[in-house]
Symmetry: C2
Subunit: 764 residues, 2 copies
């Protein structure tokens, strides 16, 4: 395809608004007589509230009302952000109450204060005296699965999921294997650390419906979860999403919205705002599942991986949220990556008395990719093969069909990513230089590493939820177009790339497409939201369909106005209606748009309003190549060079795509090198629930990031495009770990690779 | 048609919001860092600004910027609220600048102050020293047309319009007439006096477009007029209309929006609010044209009116606005009322140095109806025929075609209104009683009067603008429906009746249809807005079409889900999908809606998004019957009984319709008895520009109002309905005047019928 707008680095439409501070985020939205909510949180990790003493708290001036678990509706709901599932047997587990007497982790929501000021609310929650019955608590799956452990959820034995999948004949593969490698790997709990915490307003509108303005990735899903939480028809709720300061999956859970809505309901529908502090966000929003793996691979005489056998134990925290699905996506990731005919996965997901784990960028794949890539790196090292060549040899190719998902890889250019990366990174030159360097230096050792990933472009084919999207376009009087989409801009730039698609199809300039700065379930066509790297792919299909329909309507309408063109093919190019064959100018779209609005007889406002169901997916490929230097005296790892090369099909907007990749790489580096949520073993209280103690890299800490793309034209993607949002962060950690092994000759099997951990390994 | 929701008195959806104060009107909308605009207004009635001295004004603390006429774009525009006209020869006259050096009336906008507070802005405008060149000014058409009068608009001779229309052979009609009656009538300048003054915010949004939040009747038209005023593409503007506290046509002119937008543009797009004071509203917004008539009618031997010859001189004020069209609609009104074959109209519209006259409820017809009904009453009295019988004899009937507009009266039951009214009012009994009363009383005289009107249901067929409308409906997950319309709720209840139409067609409950509380040009389908009594008729057509389309989509979709129903007629009744023949329940619409959203394969969000062009109109009929008592010592008129009977076709919501009529009657009574804007002869300054000096009746001053309807089913109306918004106020004044003549035997030819005027007439 020959594109004009697609594939160009258009400036994101909200760029200036954001850098100048003009963009209104949820908390910026002004509201009269806004009340302030604060959540009363448990000071124990496991147990039961026996009694609330509100006497002193109620005396705090400005306190309007205090709610306990007994004062709010009791309809358990799931916070997991999936579209409603018609089949009740596959619905998310409804185990969450707005406020609870049964405490499942330190910080669990047991009540709330509504006050005239934030300060009053804060003071009052500190004066609520709660009497607990305390139970033993479990900070790891191992503890939670001990015999006689108290059940965090009744009847579960603390086991949320336990599944075995097998494809092919794994035992035979291992029996026939020339080489077998196996090892155990550990990944840690991390937090999303989006800039904007969770914040929402709740109020009753004048039409008696309940409005939630929320920093959510999933406005339409939020609507139905509110319906679940209050046992009310979904249409009684309206959700509005303003600009968002990041989400990374955390805001794919509906954590605070039912709370703030319950608060508003308790005060007759008056507006209430609830904004989590950073500390609350760490302790009580969603985290990434810490997953431990036993990973085993079979390799034949041609150094081809023929089988994978993996076991996973996933730490889920106190509530189900996305639950076991995350471990399963990790399994799928492992199966996809080398597309082995023989695959066995055994995953367990376990409740613990820690913050609930949920969706987080990558959704189980950073964990599995770390484990599998580390083992493959180890195999290459032990077999004496260049790890990059070993990867190239084993990753799947375009045209293959996945043994794991039965989906054909119409395009799968991960191998090409590795080949391009090898060249771009000067891999061989670096090997030579590192060898030389390592010989010359005793305290500093350099090494190269690779990490790879195959990633879907939505939740298909395994998820039991619908993949759909909608788009409405309105041709304005001046030939510009208003774009209404349900796809949710959460900072990734989806509004911009979707607007580019509209401009491309309609033959108009990009800056003539106006996106909405909010997503409002009342007017935005239905779309589940921003997750699963789905929007450019799935929502792009809706946008494409709507654009094609609107273009068709414009041209048909033109022929109705000017029957002399009835039999002639017309087109829209550069904002003009032209003869399709010659490109000859007939009339500007602006002039014709005016006519379509105001012609006395044929006047008609041209719009398109479509929805699509997507039943395909496409797999993107990611390779990280990294060169590190380990200070063997301190254990500190320095990244010298790092490159991500992606096959995401056609890139819609190169500069935005690069930004997406760079952000992901920074996140992936931090995942590999430093981030980890820690709990106090004696109390279950989070130890580093703030950005002073929990370190994320600043721009000063992130090395130069190199980005490359190979761009096959995927036939299933609306513009040949595939996923890109999540993959970039999944591969740096294993690449770094492999590089460290390459540098110091020691396999690190547990992230983060803190200096302490590296030094301990070196000391052993 | 057999209706379930249409024809029922549903509670308006915004009723509670409004009576509890929860409804957000424009000025209630919170906004951060809002600046305040105030307009610098001329202190002379005619002349030119020679110099602005801003020195002292700029010293006022808090003043940000002061704009003069030289600081704003100079693209003259028309403030008149008509859809953009493609034919430039019939476009509204573009004679208005945002701010002007050329002053055309006392209070003309010559500049503006933008300040941090309203007080600072107020203080500063008083410190702007303006040096003028003063010219003679003209407060009446007569003065403005004097030889050698200074031209208010160059090259016009102060004559804005001068048209002659003739149908049939008027001279012959008068030659052949058995009786001829003629007289001169005067109507006065009045103000709309809506509760909420004109108020608007202007700011630049983060997408660089310019947003105007305004209390306007015509958001979509406002958008294009802003485009005109700034010579920018229409799509660069977005207009949002919140709840409105009345408009009555005044807000069918775009008076303040370009001003506030210019102010915002002057301060880099920061939000600015401009709210007119009541005094400014009186002096500088639109008023009703004062029209003087020479009216002449020919009557044959059967007491049938056979010809009308009328001359009108209409006082237009300093700017064109709706201009001559108002006088022409008055002519049309006269021609429609008795549907005479011979009609001649000669209308002149004249610029004067007074507030510009524009659209006001009735748009020229209250004036013409006063003059013509008064003359017809006089004829009846002089011919010794009961005026009611004389009206019944002369008004047109269903099935006739209008000589004036060539439109067929498919339904025209004005005669029936009079007949029903006669009975309901106990007309004959009252005659007897009045005769008895008048004999027994010297100082108090009673009399009966009638006023009648025929009124179109939109601007068709004469207006050169498009009559179109749009509606988008979204089926929510719970079987409720979101209704998006461009039709503008301005307090009249249009959202409610349009929602009833949706409910009716879709077979769902009225309270399952959710209207928008704002009209936002970005998302609301195009509709010119609220004027010409058009919405229930024209917008109703769009709503009906959208509803039918959505219903069809639902039922087609149902058959796709359940092919066993493929060949069976289905329907939606009482929120359920049923067998059309038997009414047998199949599934609730709520359940099916959920399925349509979330089915993995057939999932689809059902919406309809339609627009229509309306090329018909329908004529409604109005009759007022009134019984008055005149205190001959004071000249005071007391209304003893008053009844309006309307043929508005099918009434969609009886209680709202009655409210509409009652409001109109109160307005019409005030027009007949008391309201009048007065100017100081020496300065041209308004004398009574506030609600203390300009009296409008309170609910304590309004007599009991009786309302009746006859309800023919008009085949052109979407539900058999016709116009109702404007007619109610047009007939009380002539009915009262006729009743006064009946009581005291003196023809009053000039409204308002103040005690002073009546006493003067009695004294003569």
């Amino acid at each position: 395809m020959d594109f004009k707008v697609i594939g160009t680095s258009q400036t994101r439409w909200d760029a200036e608004a954001k850098v100048t501070g003009k963009a209104e985020y949820t908390r910026d939205i002004p509201m009269h007589n806004l009340l302030h909510g604060k959540v009363v949180r448990s000071k124990i990790a496991h147990g039961r509230v026996i009694n609330y003493n509100l006497e002193e708290a109620l005396k705090v001036p400005g306190v309007i009302k205090i709610l306990t678990a007994d004062d709010v509706p009791d309809y358990p709901y799931s916070t997991a952000g999936h579209p409603h599932r018609l089949d009740v047997t596959v619905q998310d587990k409804k185990d969450t109450n707005i406020f609870t007497r049964r405490v499942r982790y330190y910080g669990d929501a047991i009540g709330a204060v509504i006050a005239e000021t934030e300060l009053a609310a804060e003071e009052a929650i500190n004066k609520v005296i709660v009497e607990y019955e305390e139970w033993p608590f479990y900070l790891t799956p191992k503890e939670a699965l001990m015999d006689g452990a108290k059940e965090i959820h009744d009847g579960t034995g603390n086991l949320l999921g336990d599944t075995k999948n097998e494809t092919g004949n794994v035992d035979k593969a291992f029996k026939d294997a020339k080489y077998i490698f196996e090892d155990e790997y550990h990944t840690q709990t991390v937090q999303h650390c989006h800039m904007e915490t969770m914040v929402a307003y709740g109020y009753q509108d004048v039409d008696k419906r309940w409005v939630c303005i929320s920093s959510t990735q999933i406005p339409h899903i939020c609507r139905h979860i509110l319906g679940d939480a209050f046992n009310m028809p979904f249409g009684k709720f309206r959700v509005i999403k303003p600009f968002i300061g990041g989400g990374f999956g955390n805001k794919q859970d509906i954590v605070i919205e039912p709370m703030v809505m319950a608060m508003s309901m308790a005060v007759g529908g008056k507006p209430v705002v609830l904004e989590l502090t950073r500390e609350e966000l760490f302790a009580t929003s969603r985290v990434r599942h810490a997953i431990d793996y036993k990973m085993k691979i079979a390799i034949d005489e041609n150094y081809i991986i023929t089988g994978i056998d993996m076991e996973a134990i996933s730490q889920n925290g106190g509530y189900t949220s996305h639950g076991h699905a995350v471990a399963l996506v990790g399994e799928e990731c492992a199966h996809l990556l080398y597309n082995v005919p023989n695959f066995r996965g055994h995953s367990k997901t376990v409740y613990t008395n820690t913050a609930a784990a949920g969706a987080m960028r990558g959704y189980g794949t950073p964990q599995a990719a770390f484990a599998l890539n580390s083992l493959v790196g180890k195999a290459a090292r032990e077999l004496g093969i260049d790890q990059l060549e070993f990867q190239i040899k084993n990753v799947p190719r375009s045209g293959e069909t996945s043994y794991g998902t039965n989906v054909k890889f119409f395009t799968n250019e991960l191998a090409e990513c590795l080949i391009v990366g090898k060249d771009k990174f000067e891999w061989n030159k670096k090997i030579e230089y590192n060898n030389k360097f390592n010989k010359e230096n005793i305290d500093r050792k350099r090494g190269l590493g690779v990490g790879t990933l195959i990633y879907a472009s939505n939740t298909k084919p395994h998820s039991p939820t619908i993949e759909n999207s909608g788009c409405r376009l309105v041709l304005n009087q001046d030939g510009s177009v208003k774009m209404m989409i349900g796809a949710t801009e959460i900072g990734q730039g989806s509004d911009t790339v979707l607007a580019q698609m509209v401009a491309e199809i309609l033959g108009i300039d990009y800056d003539k497409v106006y996106a909405d700065k909010i997503t409002d379930t009342d007017v935005a066509p239905f779309d589940p939201g921003s997750f699963a790297s789905r929007q450019t792919y799935v929502s792009g299909m809706a946008v494409k369909k709507a654009s094609e329909e609107l273009k068709e309507k414009i041209l048909v309408s033109y022929k109705l106005f000017y029957p002399i063109y009835k039999e002639i093919d017309l087109d829209i190019i550069d904002n003009n209606i032209v003869l399709k064959k010659s490109g000859e100018f007939i009339e500007s779209l602006a002039d014709f748009s005016l006519r379509t609005y105001y012609d006395m007889h044929k006047g008609n406002c041209l719009t398109s309003d479509v929805s699509i169901v997507c039943n395909t997916t496409a797999y993107s490929g990611t390779a990280t190549l990294v060169n590190v230097e380990v200070d063997t005296k301190t254990g500190k790892i320095e990244i010298l060079d790092i490159l991500n090369v992606h096959d995401s099909g056609k890139i819609i907007n190169p500069i935005l795509a690069s930004g997406q990749v760079e952000g992901g790489m920074a996140m992936g580096i931090a995942y590999g090198l430093g981030e980890e949520m820690l709990y106090d073993q004696k109390t279950g209280k989070p130890l580093n629930n703030n950005l002073l103690d929990y370190k994320i890299p600043t721009c000063m800490d992130v090395p130069d990031l190199q980005v490359g793309f190979v761009e096959p034209n995927d036939p299933t993607g609306p513009f040949g495009n595939k996923s890109l949002g999540e993959p970039p962060l999944c591969t740096p950690a294993p690449a770094i770990s492999n590089a460290v092994a390459n540098a110091i000759g020691i396999e690190m099997k547990s992230i983060p690779l803190t200096p302490q951990k590296v030094l301990e390994a070196l000391t052993k």
